[in-house]
């Protein structure tokens, strides 16, 4: 249903992608630990490579967990399905959209 209103009610999203220029918002969801109380959100260039995203954004955040093991292999999820990002792929190439959530856990 639409908003019932006295007059036209149509205002843009205040989080729309164009407000972030060449960047977009991306969240990381730690699926196998409750140490982080919620997924973490970052602002990242769409053209950022996976390696840079991982090393510059994900790792410094994840390291705050004393049990974080940088050597442990991880699985990644996007849009409800596992995906295997290559280091040289950009976020855009990986299909990561504005505000997408990337899930991760240590591989079993």
């Amino acid at each position: 249903m639409a908003v019932k209103s006295m007059g036209e009610y149509d205002f843009p999203s205040r989080s729309r992608q164009e407000l972030y220029g060449d960047d977009q918002l991306v969240s990381v969801w730690f699926q196998d630990t409750m140490w982080f109380a919620s997924p973490a959100m970052f602002r990242a260039p769409r053209a950022m490579t996976w390696a840079d995203f991982r090393d510059q954004m994900f790792v410094p955040f994840a390291e705050e967990d004393p049990d974080y093991d940088p050597a442990a292999p991880r699985t990644w999820m996007l849009h409800g399905a596992p995906f295997e990002p290559r280091d040289d792929q950009t976020l855009a190439e990986l299909g990561v959209r504005h505000k997408d959530v990337i899930g991760t856990r240590v591989a079993a």
Partner: protein, 522 residues
């Protein structure tokens, strides 16, 4: 209409309370003839509610202006006497612990501004309703809400002089991330038409949930040596009883006026139950984690004040009109075992950017939590705190080094888990006109999808920080923009309040020779 028998001669000469009230309050309006009635009350149709007879509104309190002023003046006289006495006697030193005040910091930052909003919008109802009965009830509530705002400010003003975190509350309400939770809730209501606002605040917030919000909390103040808060709280609650009555009368009035109103009202109950319930998350953690001396757990108060009184009592009554318990209420019931733990764990790790401090619960406190939450605390939350204890011993202190993903509707970080599964974070995604939006729960997703044009406007603090709209791109710049001062945020142990408290207690103990034994945290 039946006439009440006159049982006392001393009152025989006067009009009865009901007759007097009606004579003084009703009959004041008239059918306009120089302007159209629709022009005079232009906001009453667009929500789809149909009112056939405004005179059917019953106001059980029957308070006239003279009686109102007399009792309210008396209440305030008593309250301000307590505040003055407490301030003069340095009563703050008799609190259980300075950390108790973190609860009150959240209160002035997050609740006091809601009282102001309620003042403004009950004035809106008092302007726009077409019946003098509900207009008068709304106007009373409008000025009652000024009272609540001011008595809260005046109560906490004394603490502000000695403790951190109280000093910049209005600006914080407009800017700080966790305060967008109550702010977005209330502004959602303020942006509604008059009838939805009445159901949102008058009924869902004031009647369904107010007890849950205030009563255990005020008992907590009493238990923690905070006499002024207890006094203002109970004093405000006596007004709340009138407001609850307004809320209940409102819903019955709408349901009785026209059958077509029933599904509209049901939709509002469904929406506003969940919207209000999400705000109570802040209260849940206060009860279980912020009170040094505990009164009752969130779970207990939820069972008592919500499940027993509302689901077991009120909704049985409303079933008569075809109203069912709120949608998603089952999810809320499932959350009662885990809500406070998840919320406090979140505030704990983000309190570096807050106007309150947090600390890990002591062993004693954890034992209390185990007892209060036998099915969940030891399984899910004690291990986190034990890990954090080691982390602290190793020189760490868990602060999340970044920003949380927020729910598009309630604006709480996406900390909630799937109903019945305490270890899987809930993620709901909706798409509207090419953009995706995330919500924390079935309830918030349902609310979003009903009115996506509304919720996409949301000013989400994390998104705004990343747009550079909050003072700058770095955390210190944001904190400066929040107006935070040294001592406002972070860890309680070693904070300015903690150090002062220890020094003051030491001096007081030295002065009085016998330490006050009543204040050892239970």
């Amino acid at each position: 209409m039946t006439l009440a028998p006159e049982n006392k001669t001393k009152k025989a000469k006067k009009l009865s309370m009901k007759a007097r009230y009606e004579a003084l309050t009703r009959g004041l309006d008239w059918e306009p003839s120089y302007v159209e009635k629709d022009e005079m009350f232009p906001h009453l149709d667009y929500e789809g509610i149909k009112i056939h007879d405004w005179a059917a509104w019953e106001d059980p309190f029957r308070l006239t202006i003279d009686a109102y002023c007399k009792y309210q003046a008396e209440k305030d006289k008593r309250l301000y006497a307590v505040l003055d006495g407490f301030a003069q006697g340095q009563g703050h030193l008799g609190l259980t612990d300075a950390s108790y005040l973190n609860a009150m910091k959240i209160f002035i930052q997050g609740v006091t501004p809601l009282e102001y909003g309620a003042h403004r919008h009950f004035a809106y109802l008092a302007r726009h309703f077409a019946g003098p009965g509900p207009r008068f009830a709304a106007l009373c509530q409008s000025i009652d809400e000024i009272r609540h705002m001011q008595t809260e400010i005046h109560t906490l003003s004394n603490y502000n002089k000695y403790y951190s975190g109280f000093h910049n509350w209005p600006e914080e309400y407009d800017r700080v991330w966790y305060l967008s939770v109550p702010k977005s809730f209330f502004e959602d209501a303020l942006s509604c038409g008059p009838f939805e606002f009445l159901i949102a605040v008058g009924f869902s917030f004031e009647y369904l949930l107010t007890n849950l919000l205030f009563v255990p909390f005020m008992s907590g103040s009493s238990f923690n040596g905070d006499l002024p808060t207890m006094t203002f709280g109970f004093s405000a609650q006596s007004d709340e009883s009138r407001h609850m009555t307004l809320g209940l009368e409102a819903i019955k009035f709408l349901l009785e006026q026209d059958e077509a109103n029933v599904p509209i009202v049901q939709g509002w109950i469904d929406k506003w139950f969940w919207r209000s319930y999400r705000v109570t998350a802040l209260v849940a953690q206060m009860l279980d984690y912020m009170l040094p001396r505990k009164v009752m757990s969130w779970k207990e108060s939820f069972e008592l004040y919500f499940e027993e009184q509302m689901l077991g009592g009120l909704f049985e009554d409303l079933a008569f009109y075809g109203i069912t318990p709120p949608r998603h209420v089952e999810d809320a019931i499932k959350e009662k075992e885990i809500l406070s733990h998840q919320v406090y764990w979140t505030l704990y790790q983000f309190s570096f950017a807050a106007a309150f401090t947090t600390s890990a619960p002591s062993d004693e406190h954890m034992d209390w939590l185990s007892q209060a939450y036998p099915d969940t605390f030891d399984t899910h939350y004690r291990p986190l705190w034990e890990k954090e204890k080691k982390n602290i011993e190793a020189g760490g202190r868990h602060f999340a080094p970044g920003l949380p993903q927020l729910c598009q509707v309630c604006q709480v970080p996406m900390l909630f888990t799937e109903p019945g599964d305490a270890t899987t974070f809930a993620q709901r995604e909706s798409e509207f006109e090419g953009e995706i939006y995330h919500t924390c729960s079935n309830g918030c997703q349902w609310i979003f999808e009903r009115e996506p044009e509304k919720y996409r406007q949301a000013w989400l603090p994390v998104h705004q920080i990343y747009q550079g709209n909050c003072g700058g791109p770095t955390v210190p710049e944001v904190l400066e923009w929040y107006g935070l001062q040294d001592g406002d945020a972070g860890e309680y142990i070693g904070s300015r309040d903690h150090r002062n408290w220890q020094a003051w207690q030491g001096e007081a103990a030295a002065d009085t020779a016998t330490p006050d034994e009543t204040k050892a945290g239970a």
